[in-house]
């Protein structure tokens, strides 16, 4: 165990954890955050995604020690129920969810991708979402929400 400084959603935390612990378990168990979720634990589905230094990162395979001191954002840090981020609002407007378990990975992956590539073509966006799963297959609505957000912010 060692003390690690984490900066999550603009708040600083000092935690006594094994630095090899995947970031996901620290976020959900030690910090009680609900956004990042354990989907596969293998970095294959996206459910655990957080944004670190502007990039979408799979927290289930990221040792917490490697992100000490970095700015970490989770889905609840992107916006709030009272004031959702425009991308979250686009999902709400399109009713783009069924069970909602994948939303964390979908929204944060799309957010980081469009921050990097605001003018991404459909093909590029498809590539950017190639490793994100939604098992309810709410794809039609999710892609529509992401496109609407992209058009609005342009």
């Amino acid at each position: 165990m060692s003390e690690i400084a984490l900066n999550v959603n603009g708040r600083s935390h000092r935690l006594d954890v094994d630095s090899a612990t995947p970031l996901l378990y620290v976020l959900s168990d030690d910090l009680g955050l609900r956004g990042p979720k354990l989907g596969c634990g293998l970095g294959q589905c996206g459910a655990c995604t957080v944004i670190v230094r502007g990039r979408a990162v799979r927290s289930c395979v990221t040792p917490v020690g490697t992100v000490a001191g970095a700015e970490i954002m989770t889905l609840e840090g992107l916006g709030t129920p009272e004031k959702p981020h425009p991308l979250q609002q686009a999902f709400i407007d399109e009713q783009a969810a069924q069970c909602g378990f994948c939303l964390n990975g979908v929204i944060l992956t799309a957010k980081a991708f469009l921050d990097q590539k605001p003018k991404a073509t459909d093909a590029e966006l498809q590539q950017g979402l190639a490793n994100v799963l939604c098992r309810c297959f709410t794809h039609v609505r999710m892609l529509r929400a992401i496109k609407k957000y992209q058009e609005k912010r342009a």
Partner: protein
Amino acid sequence: MTTKITTAVDRRVFLQMSGALVVSFSAASILDAADVVQGPFDTRRSHVDPTQLDSWLAVGADGSVTAYTGKCEFGQGMYTAQIQLVAEELSVPVSRVKLLQCDTSICPDQGTTSGSQSTPTNFNERNLAQAAATAREALLRLASERLGVPVDRLAASDGVVGVKGDAGKRVSYGELVGGKRFDITVNAHAPRKAVADWRVMGTPVPRVDMTEMATGTFEFVHNVRVPGMLHGRVVRPAAVGAALASVDEASVRGMPGLVKVVVRKNFIGVVCEKEWQAIQAAAKLKVAWTAGPGLPAQHDFYDYLRKQPARDAAIVDSKDIDQKLAAASSVLKATYLHPYQMHGSMGTSCAVADVQGNKATVWSPTQSAYPTRNGVAAVLGIPPDNVRVVYVRGSGCYGINGADTVSYDAALLSHAVGKPVRIQLSRQDEMAWENYGFAYVIDQRAAVDRSGTIVAWDYESWSPSLGGRPGYDQPGNVVTGMLVGFEPAAPAPRAAGAPRGPLRNGSNAVPSYLAGCIDGSCNGAGTIKSERVVTHTILSPFFTGPLRSPARLQNTFAHECFLDEIAAQVKADPVEYRVRHLSDPRLREVVQAAAKAAKWQPRQSPQRTGSGRGIACVAYEGDNGYVAMVADVDVDQSSGRIRVKKLVVAQDCGPITNPDGMKNQVEGGALQGLSRALGEEVTWDDRKVTSIDWRTYHSLPLGFDVPEVESVLINRNGVEASGAGETAITIVAAAVGNAVFDATGARIRQVPFTPERVKAALQART
């Protein structure tokens, strides 16, 4: 860190919070209740008497309405839809209705939320709907007494009863009944609101959970935290059918956070202070297993199924099928193959249990709160009344995923340490041991007369089965129950008896085109009078269970492809040919509606242009939703890749509660069906399952070439409401397979349609 468990509010506390004074059960009286009733939903018994209005609804002093339901939300929109129902029948705003779902301490036992039965169960003239109608009737009666005005001069809106033509005379629900029990029975004949008067039902009310989901604040069962909670992990057998040889507890001794290694028969688990510690301890624990009996080879599994002892059933048999086939001018035959597929939930299954002495509370994502109560009781060896199951939503399940088994896991681990334990399964434990959707071998034969009309249809299928939903008394139907010593349900071989009527085509084993006659009573959707449908159920090496559209999907794939094969043989248009053999007007109408929306031009397949279109349809479970789909595809003949460009779906599920919710189900069902048609297949080697993650089990990602999905919703009033969650998915493989045939002349009779299989079918063309 602990988080307040908002979902685990008990009725007493809730009513205090809402200001109602309804006298409720104390925890002790719940557990000792003597006045139990036999449940009406094939359920056992529950202290919550469904004949009493107070079991379903309470009105607080502030006019808020609390409804209690045994049908839960797991992503299909049922939470919002039920709120709409209550708001409509009681004439209160949606925002004033709270719904408490599937908590065995406070909700009626409605069995399992499954089989597209929630809408038929709670929206037609019974149960929650009838309770709400009874409450409205009672409120009007109370208002009539209070205001001294006859009921027929009263009208309710916004939770207030007013006198028609006298704006000054009014009384609110809160003033009428707030804080008190209704103390009346549910009136089966209380009048329902006419569809023409609907204000809330029939409108696209947004999902009430949407904002929380999108902002990461929604509480899934995975987020439940209770004080003093520990974390568990299980160690499943190394091979199917393997038994425990030995556990070397010394292999994990001294690991950080380790609380206990739990061993009970073949059930092994570890409990640690933290989740990551439990994951590491489970990985490190040395467990020796017997080799197990071995598995039948996958490469000839379908032939293997045909040769096994089976439980046979004859669904229909007109007794003339052999003569008709022998005498026909033309007979067609084809065999269709469908693999085991998995629920493969996005999040692995998770539950939290707190077992103290002989009492237990389990926060569970199960579809079956009361049956799980009994299952947990059985594995712990305590009375069912000592167990409280609180439903908390998990990841979308699509049938029996790991939700029930992980609830047993949590209970066993908590029981062993005497503290609350949370467990979330590993991806491999979820995928290797869940109850798979059925594999199927289906032989079809049909006789066609000189005019090209089908005169006889002969169906025979082989399908493996083991376990399933545990129900109230078979915890061995899921892996954890079996590991601790309960037997799974297994099909006992026996010969088929005579068909028993009237036909209820719950598994869609009977093709829609058959008359479905048993003892002179014909319940089929079609015209073909010479008919035989025989099924063989075989012992499965793997657990099986309902997976969205169980058996219906596999059967319909075979029926709808075969109908298409016959149409092509007699050079008939696939739409016209379907309609010609259907008698059910609702099914005919959706076929025509889908064709019209897709601008279908009469055609003879195959057109062989590399692009094609196909159609398929089904009367889901015979009469629980009607749907047809047109698929447009391109086939890359060099790679064997299928690109689906568009799916047009026409659906009639009776009166629509929430058109946007139904569209969401149609779209999701269509694309989930596409993933199952194109890529999903459980695989195994000689000892164990090998499709254990998203590299080895192929789900279409968000970034695939997503087709356009167009929904045509037929809102039909004057009939009962039926299910809408399993309709579209049932016909995707057939619609796409038929389109591939139209595009190429190649018929693919095995799901999934992998590029290799498409190429093989292209080469096999005649």
